[in-house]
């Protein structure tokens, strides 16, 4: 195991660089996770986020209306500052903003048909809010036309709105409790790729030095053995990174991670990081120029992350991009993650498609190692 031992001597030489890079990537993953919680689309709360800017007095009608909205939604307190409001809408902190004009109640009672101005996003929850708001005002309008006073209007609407059907949730999925770990593990697609390619390429650049290569090729040890030991070294180094990554997730969301879903997330990421290591190994055997390494790291890691849905959910991507993405392990990694967090029963039939994805990821790893073998053979014959 001479080569294997030597590999780690070189790792020791680069330890600060490796630690720094790993630290940055893991740090970003943690930040990404802590800022999340309201990941878009699939984890949408059934309460839309609404801001109310009331320029009218606190009249009975306004109070009744606000109370209804408060029950049905999350009220977000916003400063009455157009830029803040615009930002909150732009970044989807609120879905719907209501501007109640001055003297609204007075005009309303006098049947002047005043209008509440609104701003909204294009999302489903904004649509829903619009329906709610319209319903309330419509009822109020009709009661007003029938001659009720303010208090009576509010009370009548209240009793109408109490009529509700029961909603039965059948086998509820646990997407919510898994939302935070899923952000962390999806981001791992980027972190693992970036770390693997960078670290392996940096360490391997020492072995790929022309002089050392020549020396190695005339030594007694078969070339294949050297290559295998180097690959083993890479895998062990990268597994170290994986252990750290998983430990952090265990510390931060212990409960979610110690479920079957959490364990599957770990398994998926374990197979993925091995494949990522083989990508790193492949890159290092293709690229000679040390300067090019950071370029390739970013293009490969960011590129794959974008087209496979690591940063933005897969349903946002168009079908052509997704078709292309299927030729890379990242797509299958994210797909498996998405299915894992939605899992509620754990029979073989339920996890079959997840296991298929994981096998595909592993298959890619094997394929890359195979390609590395071919490349090395070609290179050897050239010499």
């Amino acid at each position: 195991m001479t080569v294997f031992k030597n590999y780690f001597k070189i790792v020791a030489r680069y330890k600060w660089l490796i630690l720094l890079y790993t630290g940055i990537c893991i740090g970003i993953s943690i930040l990404n996770m802590s800022s999340g919680g309201n990941a878009p689309e699939q984890f949408m709360e059934n309460k839309p986020n609404i801001a109310i800017i009331n320029n009218d007095e606190e009249t009975v009608l306004i109070k009744g209306f606000t109370q209804y909205i408060t029950e049905k939604s999350e009220i977000v307190e916003l400063e009455n500052n157009e830029e803040k409001i615009q930002d909150a809408l732009f970044y989807r902190e609120v879905d719907y903003v209501l501007y109640i004009p001055e003297n609204y109640t007075q005009d309303f009672i006098n049947k002047k048909e005043p209008q509440i101005e609104i701003k909204k996003t294009a999302e489903g929850s904004a649509q829903y809010t619009q329906m709610m708001v319209n319903k309330y005002i419509k009822l109020a309008d009709i009661y007003n036309r029938a001659g009720m006073n303010e208090q009576k209007i509010v009370d009548s609407i209240k009793s109408d709105l109490e009529k509700q059907v029961d909603i039965v949730i059948e086998n509820e999925s646990n997407t919510k409790s898994m939302a935070i770990p899923s952000l962390y593990y999806n981001f791992a697609n980027y972190s693992f790729l970036a770390i693997s390619i960078y670290i392996i390429a940096i360490v391997m650049s020492v072995f790929n030095n022309q002089m050392i290569k020549k020396k190695n090729s005339i030594c007694k040890m078969p070339y294949k053995k050297i290559s295998n030991q180097l690959f083993l070294g890479n895998v062990i180094l990268i597994l170290g990174v994986w252990v750290v990554y998983v430990l952090i997730s265990l510390i931060l969301c212990k409960e979610a991670m110690l479920t079957m879903n959490g364990l599957l997330l770990m398994l998926n990421s374990f197979i993925f990081i091995i494949t990522a290591a083989s990508i790193g190994f492949l890159v290092s055997s293709l690229v000679k120029n040390k300067d090019a390494i950071s370029g390739i790291v970013n293009v490969v890691a960011l590129g794959l992350s974008f087209i496979s849905g690591c940063f933005a959910p897969q349903q946002w991507l168009n079908s052509t991009v997704l078709t292309v993405a299927k030729f890379f392990p990242s797509y299958w990694y994210i797909k498996a993650n998405t299915e894992i967090i939605e899992l509620t029963s754990y029979g073989f039939e339920d996890i079959k498609s997840i296991l298929t994805s994981i096998s595909i990821i592993f298959g890619f790893g094997v394929l890359y190692v195979f390609i590395i073998g071919i490349i090395n053979k070609i290179k050897l014959h050239k010499k």
């Binding site: 720094l20 970003i28 802590s34 800022s35 999340g36 990941a39 878009p40 949408m44 059934n46 830029e83 615009q86 930002d87 909150a88 732009f90 970044y91 989807r92 209008q115 101005e117 996003t121 294009a122 999302e123 489903g124 929850s125 649509q127 829903y128 329906m131 708001v133 319209n134 319903k135 419509k138 309008d141 009709i142 009661y143 029938a146 009720m148 009548s156 609407i157 109408d160 009529k163 509700q164 059907v165 909603i167 039965v168 949730i169 059948e170 509820e172 981001f187 950071s294 370029g295 970013n298 960011l302 992350s305 974008f306 087209i307 940063f311 933005a312 349903q315 946002w316 991507l317 168009n318």
Partner: protein, 418 residues
């Protein structure tokens, strides 16, 4: 050093230069020949040298172009994915439903294909099938009437789709309740048309949303901002060419009768010019090739890009001057810092992430990539230009700080031995 000595040194430097690198013209020799327009000459030569550096051009131009292409590929569906799609539901056909004709009509109306369509309804005979569809996510929920004529809604999950199903069924009962209440209060409403209003759909709110809510553009902004800060590589290069302990050429140059700051100034200016041209190419690529709808305020975009490029160059200058690490480490530092800043500017994640992050740790929004991104965002999203100028000025202040710090480090630097 006397005149002759200097001359000898030039000769040696010149020979060395030819031997080492034939393609790069030595600024030094020409300085000697035409002292009067030295700055212009250094600048011209520097431009030539920089344009031949593949790795510089990659990071400052090709990489941002690749990134923005990825954004285009990945996010072209966002706008459509976000729009409201009709909720897929199933309705169980049974005797109880036939008794509730009104509800049937309401669901039928809401399922008609038009721009206000709310449901996409499948009618099925047995509940088992509906359960199966629910399990496979073919529908968001199903409605079943029980023997007492009460509608039950069954869903798998909490979510906006499910909330809308419940809402519609609720409204059906609420409208019925309202009708009863209002007739009890004032039977007149049946005759004067007021009761009909319950059936009508009328908008009681006025939408004043501008259409500038498309957050895909933010990804382009981050790509431009990132490219600006990657311009720091030109700053680094400039330092490498002037600080005697970093490159052989710089060592030669530093014994020349040229003021170091002047030399540095020429180098930085050359880098800055190329950097800005590259940003213009990137902008053109985003607007004309990727069809990104940045905003119409072209002059303001160009101005902010200029300030951004300057911030990038000076940032590189600072990193180059402030420490004595070797060149690879400095390049690594610059790239790593820029990537982290780009992350904070929202390049790697859902748009909400940037917003939440800034709420969590407000200080992150003062990094240069975020400042430039936010400047563009202000231009795109706000009516007034106040915020734009605030960001523009912040970017300029950032550059000034970088220059001031660099000056402190470079001042009176002399070498006993290198």
């Amino acid at each position: 050093m006397d005149k002759r000595g200097r001359f000898c040194f030039v000769q040696v430097a010149n020979l060395k230069n030819i031997k080492m690198d034939k393609t790069e013209p030595s600024p030094f020799v020409q300085v000697r020949e035409r002292k009067e327009s030295m700055l212009g000459h250094v600048l011209k030569n520097k431009l030539n040298v920089l344009l031949r550096s593949k790795s510089l051009i990659f990071w400052t131009l090709i990489f941002p172009i690749i990134m923005s292409t990825f954004f285009k590929l990945a996010l072209s569906n966002i706008a459509t994915a976000e729009e409201f799609d009709p909720v897929k539901i199933a309705v169980i056909q049974n005797v109880a439903l036939d008794n509730e004709q009104n509800l049937k009509t309401v669901i039928g109306e809401l399922s008609t294909e038009n721009e206000n369509q709310v449901f996409e309804t499948t009618y099925i005979d047995n509940e088992e099938k509906a359960k199966e569809m629910l399990k496979n996510d073919d529908i968001s929920g199903y409605i079943i009437m029980d023997e007492n004529g009460k509608a039950d809604v069954r869903v798998k999950d909490n979510g906006i789709q499910q909330t809308i199903i419940k809402y519609v069924i609720d409204e059906y009962y609420q409208t019925a309740s309202a009708a009863t209440q209002i007739i009890n209060f004032n039977p007149q409403v049946i005759y004067d048309g007021t009761i009909q209003l319950l059936e009508e759909s009328k908008e009681y709110v006025k939408d004043k949303t501008g259409n500038n809510l498309d957050y895909c553009v933010n990804y382009y902004y981050t790509a431009i901002a990132m490219a600006c800060i990657y311009g720091g590589l030109f700053g680094l290069e400039a330092v490498k060419e002037t600080e005697a302990n970093l490159s052989k050429r710089a060592a030669r140059v530093s014994v020349a009768p040229v003021h170091k700051l002047k030399m540095l100034f020429a180098n930085v200016t050359a880098g800055f010019i190329i950097q800005y041209i590259e940003i213009l190419i990137l902008l053109a690529y985003i607007v004309f090739v990727l069809k990104g709808n940045l905003t119409n305020n072209v002059p303001w975009i160009l101005l902010l890009s200029l300030a951004g490029s300057f911030a990038g160059t000076t940032f590189g200058l600072f990193i180059g001057i402030s420490n004595k690490k070797d060149e690879n480490t400095k390049v690594g530092m610059l790239i790593a810092i820029t990537m982290v800043c780009s992350f904070f500017a929202g390049m790697m994640g859902a748009p909400q992430m940037k917003y939440q992050m800034e709420k969590l740790i407000p200080v992150v929004k003062y990094n240069p990539v975020s400042l430039i991104t936010d400047g563009f965002h202000a231009l795109y999203s706000y009516i007034t230009l106040d915020m734009y100028f605030e960001k523009l000025i912040s970017v300029i202040i950032f550059s000034i700080i970088m220059i001031a710090l660099s000056y402190i480090f470079i001042r009176r630097k002399k070498y006993d031995s290198i």
